[in-house]
């Protein structure tokens, strides 16, 4: 019998799905369904991603992962994050989890010592791969919605993402203080909330808004904003883009998306001091 699955382990999914309850986590409008064997771990995930849960209604186009719990320390492989492809199958892993994911079949398996941070890392990788082929990026950026418009504040660690988020005035709906989710939407881009939080520990909200501007932030002694020409914007955005794969085809897709993004959304260099007035300048 021919099994349309990525591995022998994944090939057993169909049988297991009938008995393992599903949990659908939808970020950026892209649902990823997990079939979780361990009820306690499923409840833990449901709490952690409560703002991003969707009714568990199956659709063939959804991404599906089967989660198998294993004893801590029992996984082979490198401690450092590894993302590589063998044929159509992506092999993702770190000391705390191993996953196989067929992007074409949209099916995968995940083995982990029950730890929500492993699922968080997996979600970041999977979404970065999905976005690479669908006109979007994960950007190291805080973001928020003000008056129906989305604003992203991008920078490397220490640039001030959490500070900017803390300074948000009343009326700003914060989407994240760490990883922003940007996707092409008609003639422009939208910014979506994510559960990927930084120091603020925001749970995030499953909301989105048209992206009005991206600010590349840096600490300074005064608040100033300078528009960037698209080539310089691309150069700086690439530095702040969260992407794990090395495949030239996907890297080029990310590059194309950033070029398109910089051509459609104003990008600024924002010098700021820890002062709430920066929001009046930026948004």
């Amino acid at each position: 019998m021919t099994t349309p699955s990525i591995t022998s382990a994944a090939g057993t999914q169909t049988a297991r799905k009938k008995t393992w309850p599903g949990l659908t986590i939808c970020i950026g409008g892209l649902p990823v369904r997990f079939f979780v064997e361990d009820a306690d771990f499923r409840a833990l995930l449901a709490g952690r991603y409560s703002s991003f849960l969707r009714p568990d209604i199956r659709s063939d186009s959804d991404i599906e992962f089967e989660i198998c719990a294993v004893p801590p320390g029992s996984l082979p492989g490198p401690e450092d994050l590894e993302v590589r492809r063998e044929g159509a199958v992506w092999l993702l892993g770190r000391g705390d989890f191993r996953a196989e994911f067929d992007l074409r079949l949209r099916r995968g398996t995940l083995r982990l010592a029950p730890n929500p941070y492993s699922v968080d890392t997996l979600l970041r990788i999977v979404h970065s791969l999905l976005l690479a082929t669908s006109g979007g990026v994960l950007l190291h950026a805080a973001s928020g919605i003000r008056n129906g418009r989305g604003f992203a504040f991008s920078g490397v660690s220490g640039a001030g993402k959490t500070t900017i988020a803390r300074l948000a005035p009343a009326g700003v709906q914060l989407l994240t203080d760490e990883i922003s989710y940007l996707r092409r939407d008609g003639a422009g881009y939208r910014v979506y909330g994510t559960p990927f939080s930084g120091e603020l520990g925001l749970k995030g909200e499953d909301v989105s808004a048209p992206l009005a501007a991206i600010h590349l932030i840096e600490h300074a002694s005064a608040n100033r904003r300078h528009p960037l020409k698209p080539p310089e914007a691309v150069r700086k955005l690439l530095r702040n883009t969260l992407f794990f794969a090395q495949e030239p085809e996907l890297v080029h897709s990310v590059f194309a998306t950033l070029c398109d993004l910089a051509g459609h959304v104003p990008v600024y260099r924002l010098e700021f001091q820890p002062d709430a007035r920066v929001w009046e300048l930026a948004a």
Binding site: K229, P230, P231, R235
Partner: protein, 114 residues
């Protein structure tokens, strides 16, 4: 002056943004920004047209520069991108891989003709 041909490497991704080009190396994802003149050379780098002709037709026609200076600068620019694997440089026309294969196949076929 010897002939000088340039062709865009297939191992890069490039996008025009306004008057400039942003080029990404597939080797190490390094980004290069080509200014307006560089963008003209990039677009004209078809591997068939001698650089001197590109300079005369595209650069000198659009920019206020004398031909000798423009050609010298264009050669220097091309060598610089060539060292980075962004441009291919040759003293003979550079055929794209597919054409090269067809050309080789034709040569083999010609050799086999009695």
């Amino acid at each position: 002056m010897s002939a000088f041909y340039i062709a865009r490497s297939s191992a890069v991704a490039a996008r025009r943004l306004g008057d400039e080009y942003v080029v990404m190396s597939a080797v190490d994802s390094t980004l290069y920004t080509l200014n307006e003149v560089g963008a003209v050379l990039w677009e004209a780098a078809d591997g068939r047209t001698p650089l001197a002709e590109i300079v005369a037709r595209k650069i000198c026609a659009q920019f206020a520069v004398d031909a000798d200076t423009a050609l010298r600068d264009a050669e220097e620019f091309s060598r610089s991108l060539g060292q980075r694997g962004i441009l291919l440089i040759s003293s003979a026309p550079i055929l794209p891989p597919a054409e090269e294969q067809v050309s080789r196949a034709a040569a083999v076929a010609a050799e086999q003709v009695p």
